[in-house]
């Protein structure tokens, strides 16, 4: 029987809800369940109200849902905040000693003395393991899996701590099994299969590594820091150097120095940090230095909402940097797509000697999905530097070729010297004030666009072949739009979706082919100005219907889209 079950674990920052979610999702994934987990947290270290949603299903799931069937409330506020969004029959798990829950029809209450059982296991800090035990019992999962997880994953803890956690988990499990064996959970069963669980940050990071990143520099900024931390943790193993810069300007210019010298380089940042890289990105354009810029969006302007999600930086990324130069912009829709896109991005930056943007957001980086596998051979690392010995002399760093791309060497290769320069310059990189040189240089750079247009896949189509209505997603709205299509198709609507990962150079012809003569085209995006919608209209000259927008810092879900869609759809 198909099932789609949503678990909310809620509490304040510092209570360890990530730990509970971590244990649970790992074991569920290993058992073959399909998951989508998303994070809703505040910009603070302790207190406030945070929650994780874990959607569990027998088939792939791509987006969060708002209503829950199981709430683990780690504090009183969590009960208050999430009570309304429980859909019965639902369960609330809470600490019977500290939290009050009003009983209601359709809501079953599982009251467990969590703190007490933790203390009985030797310390109050094992409370998350107790809660995990409770969940394993309720969800009819195997206690052995939980114990196994605690044994192997907590390896940096002392043997005593591991024992304490296992004890605590067992107590929670037993207590629940004994007192609440009558509770029915609708989470179904699936064929056992070991699935991986990956979030967007990990997938971009691993993609960059697979794409041969050699140098990464960054200044910490939510929600991009996870990518930087991941690569930093693996740097030694992969012969990468990772540097936390004094500011984003330094981060960007370090990457450009490394890139100019011949090392594949990347930076990670978010809104404000991206803004600070504006001039550096223009230098990448002028000096034709390969660099990958992973910008993970959060709501702005300025500081905005550091831990929330948005797609407000599209216009900036398309236009960032004074003066004119070509660039690539990708906005992967899922963690899976983000992995392959990141490998591509590393290749393309070098191939065309242009800045390449990976435009993600908090929703993408902080949400985890289950996957069968990732294939690092599907998109392969490929070098586009001139092979040593093949360098034609005199070597011209900015040779005005037909494709616009000049042969790329590293400093001192085959004993040549060359200069990488930020001015209007001659083919050998020296400052020029000549008008013909200026004109030719711009034309050379923009000639790259011809081949850049052909790179990477265009928009993806999903749904009914000749659907009347087309929803358009880009970046992380992919999941919610895709599920909306499934939902509407079930209702026999004539719908399909087009998803954009490659945003620039804009795939004009493919778009026109896919969009022309539709009755209604509706772009779904996380911003106020409908930035992508505006771009789509500009590039295709096709008119679209009223876009479906969300700009309150939260990701889309099916219900939200359907509601907005039906409202204007009369």
């Amino acid at each position: 029987m198909p099932f789609d079950f949503n678990i909310t674990i809620a509490g304040s920052a510092g209570q360890g809800l990530q730990t509970i979610a971590g244990i649970l999702t790992k074991v569920l994934a290993r058992n073959g369940y399909h998951l989508f987990t998303s994070q809703d947290y505040m910009s603070r270290i302790r207190g406030g109200h945070n929650f994780t949603n874990i959607r569990v299903s027998d088939k792939p799931v791509y987006a969060p849902t708002v209503s829950s069937q199981l709430l683990v409330a780690l504090d009183q506020e969590s009960v208050e905040v999430h009570y309304q969004s429980l859909t019965g029959p639902a369960i609330i798990v809470h600490d019977s000693d500290t939290i009050k829950v009003i009983k209601a029809r359709n809501i079953q209450v599982v009251a467990v003395p969590l703190a007490k059982l933790s203390n009985e296991s030797g310390s109050p800090v094992y409370i998350n393991s107790v809660a995990a035990g409770v969940l394993f019992s309720l969800l009819r999962l195997d206690l052995k899996d939980l114990v196994g997880f605690l044994e192997t994953r907590f390896e940096e803890k002392s043997p005593e701590q591991i024992k304490g956690n296992i004890n605590a988990a067992t107590k929670g499990f037993t207590y629940t099994s004994e007192n609440y064996q009558n509770i029915k959970t609708t989470i179904g069963t699936v064929r056992k299969k070991n699935r991986m669980l990956i979030n967007g940050a990990e997938s971009i990071a691993i993609g960059m590594i697979a794409g041969g990143v050699r140098f990464i520099s960054a200044y910490p900024m939510s929600p991009s820091t996870g990518i930087f931390i991941y690569i930093t943790g693996k740097a030694k193993k992969f012969g990468i150097i990772s540097e936390q810069a004094e500011d984003e300007i330094a981060a960007c210019n370090m990457a450009l120095g490394a890139g100019a010298a011949g090392a594949r380089s990347a930076v990670t940042t978010s809104g404000g940090g991206l803004s600070l890289m504006c001039e550096g990105i223009s230098l990448a354009g002028a000096a034709e230095i390969p660099v990958v810029i992973a910008n993970m969006q959060r709501p702005g302007p300025a500081t905005g909402s550091p831990t929330r999600t948005a797609q407000e930086d599209l216009d900036l990324v398309l236009n960032i940097g004074h003066g004119e130069f070509p660039r690539f912009v990708f906005a992967p829709g899922t963690a899976e797509e983000a992995f392959y896109t990141s490998i591509h991005a590393m290749n393309l930056a070098e191939k065309y000697q242009v800045p390449v943007f990976i435009l993600g957001d908090q929703h993408l980086v902080d949400s985890s999905i289950t996957l069968d596998k990732l294939n690092p051979n599907k998109v392969k690392y490929k070098s586009y530097m001139v092979k040593s010995g093949n360098l034609k002399k005199p070597y011209l760093r900015y040779k005005n070729t037909k494709s616009g791309v000049s042969p790329l060497a590293y400093y001192g290769q085959d004993k040549v010297t060359f200069i990488v320069d930020s001015h209007v310059h001659t083919e050998d990189g020296h400052i020029s004030e000549d008008m013909v040189v200026a004109e030719k240089l711009t034309e050379k750079r923009f000639r790259k666009i011809n081949d850049m247009k052909k790179e990477f896949y265009g928009p993806q189509y999903y749904g009914l072949q000749n659907a009347k209505t087309v929803l358009v997603s880009w970046g992380s709205t992919y999941g919610a739009v895709r599920e909306t299509i499934d939902y509407l198709l079930e209702k026999k609507k004539s719908v399909a979706m087009i998803h954009y990962n490659k945003i620039w150079p804009f795939p004009v012809e493919e778009s026109i082919r896919l969009l022309k003569s539709r009755k209604d085209i509706r772009v779904v995006e996380n911003n106020y100005q409908a930035q992508f919608n505006r771009l789509l209209k500009r590039e295709t000259r096709i008119d679209t219907g009223e876009p479906i927008l969300r700009y309150d810092g939260r990701p889309f879900d099916v219900r939200f889209i359907v509601k907005k869609f039906e409202k204007r759809q009369k």
Partner: protein
């Protein structure tokens, strides 16, 4: 050094006749030749300004980036290919003004590069506004009542930040400047050589004569390894201006933490796809 230097690049220089930049260029060429380097082994990095045009006028690799951002770019290039000898040549406005934050943090990292600041105490290329090192009272079109912010003393700062090598020279004294550049390059870690450089077009206060009347070479009795003495010496400015090695401080360089000299530079390393598999496997 009259013999033709293989770093010498014959090309028109967009500098004013008489500008101190010419001698600094010659000193750099001479130092590199004396060190027996070949042009392709050297990378000259600069920002933007009159001084920063230098990489265009020498036979070597170059990176002429953004105003104020030479140091992070030089850092990146050195990390990418630690076999390159990396020099930065830029102006006082570039390094101490727009690039002030990178100056501090590059020294803290102790990356093994040599920074040569053409310190003309003015913004040359933009036609004569005060720079961070302009003396009090200097009148310009943007400081019509004279400068009243206390001048930035780069040597005091570098000593305070425990730079590996801190020196001052005067552009006119080419042999001395050459020697200091050589020594700066030879010293592992971050070396600063602040070179007093007359700007004949805009700085009518700190002229050749003004500098000549004041500079004196530190003699052997001065011990540059004593930080508190170095700090004191670095603060000398006015009627007497010391030139020479102000401070020497041996400490681990940035790359010592990552790379041995014989290691493959980053640019030659390859990612092993099998190892990427292991990252993926960790996620199950």
């Amino acid at each position: 050094m009259t013999k033709e230097n293989h770093f010498h690049y014959s090309v028109e220089r967009a500098w004013c006749p008489g500008c101190g930049d010419y001698s600094i260029l010659s000193s750099v060429e001479n130092a590199l030749a004396n060190l027996k380097k070949k042009p392709h082994e050297v990378l000259m990095v600069s920002g933007i300004g009159q001084a920063a045009k230098l990489p265009h006028y020498i036979k070597a690799n170059g990176f002429d980036g953004l105003h104020g951002r030479a140091l992070p770019a030089a850092f990146g290039a050195k990390v990418a290919n630690h076999k390159l000898m990396v020099l930065v040549t830029s102006g006082d406005g570039d390094i101490y003004g727009e690039g002030g934050n990178h100056f501090i943090h590059a020294i803290r990292r102790n990356i093994d590069i040599t920074l040569i600041v053409h310190n003309n105490q003015i913004y040359g290329l933009t036609k004569g506004q005060a720079s961070p090192t302009s003396d009090l009272g200097m009148v310009t079109k943007t400081q019509p009542d004279g400068v009243f912010t206390i001048p930035f003393n780069p040597l005091e700062m570098a000593v305070t930040l425990d730079a590996a090598f801190v020196a001052r020279s005067f552009s006119k004294d080419m042999a001395f400047t050459t020697k200091l550049i050589e020594e700066g390059i030879r010293t592992p870690g971050f070396s600063l050589i602040d070179v007093l450089q007359p700007c004949v077009s805009f700085n009518h206060v700190n002229t050749y004569k003004w500098y000549s009347d004041r500079v004196y070479q530190l003699d052997n009795s001065y011990d540059p390894t004593d930080k508190s003495k170095a700090y004191k010496k670095s603060s000398e400015w006015g009627d007497k201006i010391p030139i020479g090695v102000i401070f020497k401080n041996s400490r681990k360089t940035y790359l010592d933490n990552f790379i041995k000299h014989k290691d493959l530079p980053l640019i030659k390393r390859k990612t092993n796809i099998k190892e990427v598999d292991s990252l993926i496997n960790e996620l199950y």
